[in-house]
C-alpha cells in the first residue's frame, strides 16, 4: 500500500518499477503509467503522468531523476514527490490546485541501466551502459548527449571518460526516447526539472555558454523564490544561477536542450549535500532533503501558474 512503501530508503530498480505498477493500479484517477521507449539493455523507460483529468488540455511539468546513475537521492526525490502528490491531494489546497491545473510527467529513473549497474556492480557508476565497438569502456554521459552544442566545451569525445558525449547526439536510446516525447509535447510542457546530486544548487540555462537567457527575469525570480522556500524548511542554503557560471560550462545537457526546445522554465537541481557524504547521502537524510526540495518544486509550479 502507499503508506507501507518506505520512502526513506533507497530502492532498487525492480522495487521502483513494482511501486509504479502498484500506483498505476490503485490510483488510476490521478496516475497513469506509460513507457516512452526502451533502454540500451532493453528495459522499459517508465514515466508516471500525475494529475486530475479535469479538462481536455492542461499544461504540464516534466520531472526526471537519475540521469546520472550514482546520484541516488534523485530517484528518491522523484518517488517522494509522487507520494506527496497522492497523499496530500485531498488535504493540501496547493497540491490540489497543482494536480487540477497541471499534469506532471515524472520519470523516477532516467538511466535505468546505469542505476541497476550502480546497485549490482559499481556504486559510483555515472554513465549509461551502452557498448563501444572500438574501446572496452562502456557508457555515455546522458547529460552530454543532447543535441545542443553537442560535444563542445565540458564534454569529452573519449569513450572512457565520464563526460563522454557519445558517438553522435541522442545516440543513447534513453536520451532519444525522452527527447522524442518532449518534442512531441513541446506545446504542453511549460517546465522541465531535472534532479541530480550533489552541490546544493538550483541551475538554469545556459550550461553551454556564458550568456543571459531571454526570459531571465522570470526564471531568475522563480529560482530566487524557490531557494528561499527550500531554505525555510531547515535552513539549508542552495546557490542558484546560470549553470555555466554557478557550476561550470558543459555542453549537451538536457536542461539546455529543453530550453532550446521551447520550454520556458528549465531547471537542474543539484541536491544535498556539498561533499560531507557526497553521493552517499545517508537514508536518514532522505526525508529532510525531499521535504525542502518539495517546497522549491511547489514554488516553481506556482510561479509557472502565474503569468510572469
Amino acid at each position: 500500500s502507499l503508506p507501507a512503501y518506505n520512502y526513506e530508503v533507497y530502492h532498487s530498480l525492480e522495487e521502483i518499477e513494482e511501486w509504479m505498477y502498484y500506483l498505476n493500479k490503485t490510483h488510476s484517477d490521478l496516475v497513469h503509467m506509460f513507457s516512452v521507449g526502451k533502454s540500451y539493455e532493453g528495459r522499459p523507460l517508465y514515466v508516471l503522468k500525475l494529475g486530475k483529468r479535469s479538462r481536455p488540455y492542461k499544461k504540464a511539468v516534466w520531472i526526471d531523476c537519475g540521469i546520472h546513475a550514482r546520484e541516488w537521492i534523485g530517484p528518491a526525490f522523484c518517488q517522494w514527490f509522487v507520494k506527496e502528490a497522492l497523499q496530500t491531494y485531498q488535504t493540501d489546497p496547493a497540491m490540489k490546485k497543482m494536480l487540477t491545473q497541471l499534469y506532471f510527467y515524472v520519470m523516477p529513473v532516467f538511466n535505468v541501466d546505469g542505476y541497476h549497474y550502480s546497485w549490482t556492480n559499481d556504486r559510483f557508476w555515472r554513465k549509461t551502459r551502452s557498448k563501444n565497438s572500438r574501446f572496452w569502456c562502456h557508457g555515455v554521459d546522458a547529460n552530454r548527449n543532447w543535441k545542443v552544442k553537442w560535444c563542445d566545451e565540458g564534454a569529452s569525445l573519449h569513450p572512457c571518460d565520464d563526460t563522454y558525449c557519445g558517438p553522435f547526439p541522442e545516440s543513447e536510446p534513453e536520451v532519444k526516447a525522452v527527447a522524442h516525447f518532449l518534442r512531441k509535447h513541446r506545446k504542453q510542457i511549460k517546465a522541465y526539472l531535472s534532479f541530480h546530486a550533489y552541490a546544493q544548487m538550483l541551475l538554469y540555462p545556459y550550461s553551454y555558454k556564458y550568456a543571459t537567457i531571454p526570459n531571465f527575469s522570470c526564471v531568475e525570480s522563480a529560482a530566487y523564490n524557490a531557494v528561499n522556500a527550500l531554505q525555510s524548511a531547515y535552513g539549508v542554503r542552495y546557490r542558484y544561477g546560470p549553470a555555466s557560471s554557478t557550476l561550470y560550462v558543459s555542453s549537451g545537457s538536457s536542461m539546455d536542450w529543453a530550453y532550446k526546445n521551447g520550454i520556458p522554465y528549465a531547471f537542474a537541481f543539484e541536491l544535498r549535500d556539498t561533499g560531507h557524504f557526497g553521493f552517499l547521502l545517508p537514508e536518514t537524510l532522505i526525508r529532510p532533503t525531499c521535504t525542502e526540495t518539495m517546497l522549491a518544486v511547489k514554488n516553481i509550479t506556482f510561479h509557472l501558474l502565474k503569468k510572469c
Binding site: W119, R126, E153, G278, P282
Partner: protein, 98 residues
C-alpha cells in the same frame, strides 16, 4: 572472504590555490584515472575550484604523498569509503539489498 570493493578507498577534497597547483592536479588526475566526484571532468579544474575525488587504496599510496611533496593541501572527506557505503543504507542490511 572477498575483499569489499571499496575497502581502503578514500574521498579527498583539494582546492588548487595557484595555476601551478591546478596544472599539477590536472596532470595527476588524468594520469591516475581517478574518479572525480566534482567537478565531473579534469577539464573543469581551475584555481579556487573545489575538487572532490575518490582515490582507490592502491592509488592513494602514491597520490597523497605526491600531493604532500608538491605542497598541495588536501582534506579527507571520507576516510573509509566501504564503511560510508554501509552507513548509507542503515535501514536495511546491505547484504540483503545486494
Amino acid at each position: 572472504p572477498r575483499r569489499p570493493r571499496y575497502a581502503g578507498d578514500k574521498v579527498i577534497r583539494v582546492v588548487p590555490e595557484s595555476e601551478r597547483e591546478t596544472q599539477i592536479l590536472k596532470a595527476a588526475f588524468n594520469r591516475l584515472k581517478v574518479d572525480l566526484w566534482q567537478p565531473s571532468s579534469t577539464f573543469h579544474i581551475s584555481e579556487g575550484m573545489v575538487i572532490d575525488v575518490r582515490v582507490p587504496q592502491n592509488t592513494s599510496r602514491s597520490l597523497l604523498p605526491y600531493l604532500q611533496q608538491a605542497n598541495i593541501h588536501y582534506t579527507i572527506l571520507i576516510s573509509d569509503l566501504q564503511k560510508a557505503i554501509e552507513n548509507e543504507t542503515g535501514q536495511r542490511a546491505s547484504r540483503h539489498r545486494r
